[in-house]
């Protein structure tokens, strides 16, 4: 009974506008220090969820508890001392200055007859410094750029000094730099033990900064958990109707998303690619997006082609790096080649380690050789590869094309 209650506990919450359900059966809890991104396509109910949890719109059923206390037991000001809420696209009229706006965050702590004290001013200025808008104190908010305004409003929300903070698309219409900055501020706030719920449009940013994501669609929670388990190709297809590849970008180290239009062919012919060293990425992307049923091999572990294949969910036959291919890998590669309706040999460089790939190409029923550079320039086996290659080219079931030709025709 006396177990420490969750900062936020949402139980079976539902919301309907004019009998049209907008949120259904929402259940989740949030702990101190969590930075939760609420993502989902337009109209999924993200903003409605925040407003409902903040008590700004009535729910049709369910319960919302803050540290074990029902939202209905809390008076207006008490609630404002627990949750701060930054709404989407605030329109500040009448020329109020930044400091005046930020000071409104102290409202819950003042009696109705009181004015803000020196301490209130100090608190407001502290958070304006944190979000980097100190020098804008006297500037009317309506004269500010979008980035400055959002940082002023963030300072206001922080000035409310609540354990829980709701932000409804604070980065909408901001430049990339400012978007990152807002997320970065939030991350710091969470490290101080606050709980932040943010409605985010940008999946990459949300995945990069948030400790947890909640994916909504049609008013229901589809996925809830660590970013890498929520932002998956399958979930994106289900909710956004997007065809995508989700992968860890090796340059940034963060989740990245590549999206494309739906497949154009319906027969899904099987194609095996013999590639490696980055020679296959373009082909993989192109053929996968067209809807071909792909496999690739043999690749060394850590090869960029292997990463691309993984991102698209293409089966790849792997072997450890810097040694000759394992017998097992060579055999399964041959098997795939024999089964495939079409095999593509990319514009590979050949050395002792991957010569087996060239040999395997002989088992193909139908072979397309991509040749952007003459084999002599790609041969690092003192002629052995060239000899094999020339023999291969002469076979009857083989066509030779450049990458450009191939991509245009297929």
């Amino acid at each position: 009974m006396m177990k420490e209650s969750k900062a936020l506990d949402v139980r079976n919450v539902a919301v309907a506008f004019d009998d049209k359900p907008v949120l259904k059966n929402i259940n989740f809890t949030a702990d101190k220090g969590e930075f939760i991104g609420i993502i989902g396509p337009n109209g999924a109910g993200k903003s409605t969820l925040l407003k409902c949890l903040r008590g700004l719109i009535p729910k049709t059923s369910g319960e919302v508890l803050f540290s074990g206390q029902s939202i209905h037991q809390l008076a207006d000001k008490q609630l404002a001392g627990i949750v701060a809420y930054m709404q989407q696209g605030v329109n500040v009229s009448f020329g109020f200055s930044a400091l005046e706006i930020v000071l409104t965050g102290r409202y819950p702590y003042l009696n109705w007859w009181q004015s803000e004290s020196k301490d209130d001013y100090a608190i407001a200025r502290k958070y304006m410094e944190f979000t980097g808008v100190s020098e804008l104190e006297k500037v009317p908010v309506q004269n500010m750029s979008g980035g400055q305004r959002q940082r002023v409003l963030l300072a206001k929300v922080l000035t409310q000094e609540t354990p829980i903070i709701f932000l409804d698309e604070p980065t909408a219409s901001l430049d990339l730099l400012y978007q990152e900055e807002i997320f970065d501020h939030c991350k710091k706030i969470c490290l101080d033990g606050k709980t932040v719920l943010i409605v985010a449009h940008d999946l990459k940013l949300a995945a990069k900064f948030c400790t947890r994501l909640i994916l909504l669609t049609h008013g229901e929670v589809v996925a809830d958990g660590l970013p890498q388990f929520v932002v998956t190709a399958e979930n994106l297809e289900k909710t956004y109707g997007l065809h995508s590849a989700v992968f860890v970008n090796k340059v940034t180290g963060h989740l990245d998303i590549h999206t494309y239009a739906a497949a154009t062919i319906s027969t899904n012919p099987t194609v095996h690619i013999i590639g490696g060293g980055g020679t296959a990425d373009q082909l993989l992307r192109h053929l996968h997006e067209k809807g071909y049923n792909l496999s690739i091999g043999v690749l060394q572990q850590g090869d960029t082609d292997a990463d691309v294949a993984a991102a698209f969910g293409v089966e790849s036959i792997l072997s450890s790096a810097f040694t000759e291919f394992s017998l097992e890998a060579i055999n399964s590669n041959k098997e795939k080649i024999a089964q495939a309706e079409m095999v593509i040999l990319t514009n590979l460089c050949f050395g002792q380690l991957n010569l087996a790939n060239l040999v395997a190409a002989f088992s193909a029923k139908q072979l397309i050789i991509i040749e952007d550079l003459p084999i002599e320039q790609r041969d690092f086996t003192q002629g052995a590869a060239t000899k094999l290659y020339k023999k291969l080219v002469e076979s009857s079931n083989v066509t030779v094309q450049t990458t450009t030709d191939f991509l245009e025709k297929t």
């Binding site: 404002a80 001392g81 329109n91 500040v92 005046e100 409104t104 965050g105 409202y107 004015s115």
Partner: protein
């Protein structure tokens, strides 16, 4: 706190001094010219501060104390009420074009006044017309609020539309009653629709002083809350402002204050609209200075307009409601023009 606040306080102080000076001038100036020194002697004696009336004629005392002083008092009360109410209305609706008229105060008061005339009550006691006007104003605002209320909330747009509609409806009733009245009664009513400060007596001051002073003081005290409400309903609620309740309370106070003012002076246009505007341009949007400043400036504006109305035509006077509209309308159009250019929001 900062130099800005001190500057604002100085400006408020200067405005108060100018207001008091203008009041003194307004009392001493007129068809019967009374020197300022004598005016002050009469005022001090009648306020019970001194008890001599050396060298002052009795007729002068009557003019100063029984005609001009209540006139100026009514002017100050009405001007302050309209200025303060205008500032508050613009604040709670986050709309720079709002004024008490749009929630039906004038329309309701007119209907009440015309009823008092039609029933012949206005001839019996001078209290009847103001009380009927007050009742009409409160009734109109009440109906509008009931119409606009949705689940305990008042959407601003609905309120404005309901206000316009009910005002027009009451206007139609007023005109309808007017068609059945004789010429004398129509004159009496028309006299009321164009607000004026002439023939106001101490009875009027006693009637209006309580509610207006009470309303103005409370509204000034609520300034910080209005600062938050201006930012919009959701923004205000998210910092814990009980927006719906507060808005209702403020609307009630605004109605009480303006209806009381209107009922003793007749309807006076544009004060509630342009005075808060000018003050906002001068002092910024903070209602803690804006509201009291609008009160002082409203009183000053009305006293000056009244003085102009008495000065322009020797031998007769132009009613103050005409002067305020003549001065206010062009200025308001100028504001609209600036707003179209995006200089105001």
């Amino acid at each position: 706190m900062s130099s800005g606040v001190i500057k604002k306080q100085i400006l408020l102080g200067v405005m108060s001094i100018v207001l008091i000076t203008m009041c003194a001038i307004s009392i001493s100036w007129g068809q019967v010219q009374v020197p300022i020194a004598d005016t002050i002697t009469i005022l001090l004696k009648n306020m019970g501060i001194t008890d001599t009336l050396q060298g002052v004629e009795q007729a002068e005392e009557a003019v100063i104390w029984h005609i001009r002083t209540p006139r100026v008092f009514i002017g100050v009360l009405t001007g302050a009420a309209l200025g303060v109410s205008g500032a508050v209305m613009q604040g709670i609706f986050s709309n720079p074009l709002a004024d008490p008229g749009i929630i039906g105060v004038s329309g309701g008061a007119s209907l009440g006044a015309v009823l008092a005339v039609a029933l012949g009550l206005s001839a019996q006691s001078l209290y009847y017309m103001p009380l009927f006007a007050l009742g009409g104003a409160l009734l109109a605002v009440g109906i509008i609020l009931l119409l606009a209320m949705r689940k305990g909330e008042i959407p601003v747009m609905v309120l404005l539309l309901a206000g316009v509609t009910v005002s027009m409806f009451m206007g139609a009733l007023t005109s309808g009653i007017l068609t059945f009245m004789n010429e004398n009664s129509i004159r009496e009513f028309l006299f009321w629709t164009v607000g004026g400060l002439d023939n106001r007596r101490w009875e009027h001051v006693h009637l209006a002083a309580g509610p207006v002073i009470f309303g103005v003081i409370i509204l000034c005290c609520m300034a910080r809350h209005i600062n938050v409400i201006v930012l919009g309903e959701e923004e205000a609620r998210s910092v814990g402002v009980p927006v719906a309740k507060l808005r209702m309370g403020l609307l009630f106070l605004v109605t009480l204050t303006t209806a009381t003012a209107v009922c003793v002076s007749g309807s006076i246009g544009f004060v509630g609209l342009i005075v808060p505007h000018i003050m906002r341009l001068l002092l910024g949007p903070d209602h803690r200075t804006l509201i009291p400043a609008s009160g002082i400036a409203g009183a000053l504006f009305l006293i000056c307009c009244d003085l102009i109305g008495r000065m322009i035509l020797p031998g007769s006077e132009i009613r103050v409601g005409i002067i305020t509209s003549l001065v206010g309308a062009p200025y308001f159009l100028y504001l609209l023009h600036r707003m179209q250019k995006g200089a105001l929001h």
